[in-house]
Symmetry: C2
Subunit: 341 residues, 2 copies
Amino acid sequence: MDQNITIEDVAKLAGVSRATAGRVVGGYGNTSEKSREKVLQAVKELNYRPNLVAQGLRGQSTKTIAVILGSIKNNYCNHLIYAVEKEAQKKGYNVIICNTHEDIRQEIRHLQNMYSRQVDGIVMMSACRTDEEIEEQYKELYSGETPIVFVDRKIKGLTSCVIQSNNELASYEATKYLLELGHQRIGILATEDYSTVNERIKGYKRALEENGIVFNPKNIQFAAQSEKNKVAEMTAKLLREKSQVTAIYVLNNSLCAGVLSELKRQKKNIPEDISLLVWDDEDLNELLEITTVVQPIEEIGKMAINKLIHDMRTKKGAEESTKEILDSHIIYRSSCKKVNS
Amino acid sequence: MDQNITIEDVAKLAGVSRATAGRVVGGYGNTSEKSREKVLQAVKELNYRPNLVAQGLRGQSTKTIAVILGSIKNNYCNHLIYAVEKEAQKKGYNVIICNTHEDIRQEIRHLQNMYSRQVDGIVMMSACRTDEEIEEQYKELYSGETPIVFVDRKIKGLTSCVIQSNNELASYEATKYLLELGHQRIGILATEDYSTVNERIKGYKRALEENGIVFNPKNIQFAAQSEKNKVAEMTAKLLREKSQVTAIYVLNNSLCAGVLSELKRQKKNIPEDISLLVWDDEDLNELLEITTVVQPIEEIGKMAINKLIHDMRTKKGAEESTKEILDSHIIYRSSCKKVNS
C-alpha cells in the first residue's frame, strides 16, 4: 500500500469532489450510486486505505465514538447502545463498544486503549460506585482533551456532564402506586451502590415517609446481576414469613429473571400471592404482563451523542458539572394487585 | 505530554524491570502490589502514556482484539462476547466490540476502522448471507495481514478459519426427538439465510426423510429479530388451521419472545396445545421450561481466541480453509408433549 495516496488522489481519479470521495470512503452521508461506484473503483485502483490514526494524530476527527459501559448483558445498556449507534450513524460516526464488567480497573484500561486509538469522544456509564473516587493518577483520563459524556452514573469529585432519567421522582411515583394499592411492606431488590440505585431508593423512602410508614432496612436487599444464586437468596430473604412483604419492587431489570425464578420455585403466583414492579422494559415484561418503569433510553442515547458531538466541535471540556434529566414513565400491566392494608 | 518518554524511562524511575513496567501499564499479567504502585507513581511523575498506535505501526502487538458481529441484542452473540472476553483477558488482551446490525456495509466499515486503529486480530460473525460473496474490492479486507477467526458463519469463496457447533447434527437430533414424540408436522421459524440456519434446516429435513415424511416448504417461515410484527405474523402462519402443525421449532433464540407472544395472543398453552423447542438457552427458557438446543458457547469463544492468538504469533494467514466443529447438546424440559400421530 502506497502511504502517499490521499483522498484527493482518489477524488481526482474518480472525477468527483473531495467531499464526495470522503463520504464514500468514510461511509457516511449520501452520495449517488454512480459516484459511489466510481470512488470505490478509484480506491481499488490506487489501493487507497484511509489512515484514521494519522488523521487522529493530526488532531482531525477520526469519525469514531467509543461507548464504555458495564455490561452488554444488561438490557438497559443494550438498548442504550442501540440508541447511541442510531444517532451516531445519522451524524456520520462509527461506534465501538467496550465492556467493563463493572470493574473500575477494566474501565481505566479501556479508556487508555481508546485514547491511544484516537477516538473522537466517549459515552460512558462508569463502573465507579457512589462513594468511590477515581484514584488521583487516573483522574486526567476522565477529564482530558477527549470529551466524555456520562450516562446515568456520575463520578464523585469530577466535573462532568451527566445525562440521566428522573430516578428519584419515577421511583417515588412507582412506590406511591403500590401504596395506593394498599401495599405497606414493599421489598426492594437492587444492584449495589450506584448513584442511580441510590436515587431510586430515595424516591421509595420519600413515598413511604409521606404515607407515615417507617422504613425498614431489612426490606432492601442487594445482589449483582452476575450472582444468580444471590439474587434468588435475597428474594427468599424478602419473602421470609416474618417480613410479610406483599410486593417486590426490582430496581434493576437485570435482576428480574432471578426474582421470577425464585418466585416460581416457591410457587408464588403474580399478582395473587405477590405483586411485582420492575425497572426497564423488555420482551419478558410484556410477555408476563409486568408493570414497569420505563426510562427514555432513545432520548438519553440521542442527547448523549448530540452533547458529545457539540463538545467535540467546540473542543471544550466540562468547565462545570451539568446534568440533563429526562422523564421516565410507568407502563401499567397486571402484576400489581390491590391488597387490604 | 512528552512523546519521548518510554516504558524504559518508567521502569528505570520505578526501579523495576521493563517487563514488570509493561505489565502494569498494559494491565495484564501479575505483579506485586508494591511494584504496581511504584510503576504507577513513575507513570504519573513522567506523565507517560503508552502510544499503542505507534506500537501498532511498528508492527508490534497493541494487545487488542476486536469482535465484529451481528447484534449484541442477540443472546447468543452476547454470551459469545463474554466467552471471548474471558479468554482474551486471561491472555492479556483487551477486547473491543463492533455491532454490524447484520449489514455487510457496516461490517466493512468496522473492519476498515479496526485496521486503521491497529488491532492485533479479529473475531467475526459475518453478516454475509449464504450465497452472497464479498465484493471484489473488499476481499482483501477479509484476508489481509491481520488474522481473522470466523465464528459460526463462513463466507462463500473465501479461505478462512471457521469455528462453529454441529448445527446439522444437533438439529437432526432435536427433530428426531420431536418425531419420536409423535409430531409429524413441525413448523420452523428462523432468521433468514445464514449458513448456520441452512445447516439446521438440513438436519431437520434429514430427520423427516428418514422417517418417511415429505418436507412441506410452507412449514418453514423466516423473519429477522428486529421485525417484531413479522415474527408474530409468521408464527400465525405456521399455526393456521390448515397446516395442523403440532410443534414449533425455533432455530434462533432471538425469535423466541415473538413466538411466545403470538402463542399467548392465540391463547395456546405449551405443551398442551403446541410443543416448543428452541435453539440457545437463556433465563427465559429456564423460567418457562422450554426444551433447548444448547451450543458450547464458552468453548467456541475460547477456541476462537486461542486460534487467533496462534495466528497472530505465527503471522500466517489462512492458507486453506479450516473448520472446527464443537458439540451442542439438548436440555430436555417440559415444553414438548407426546401426541398421537
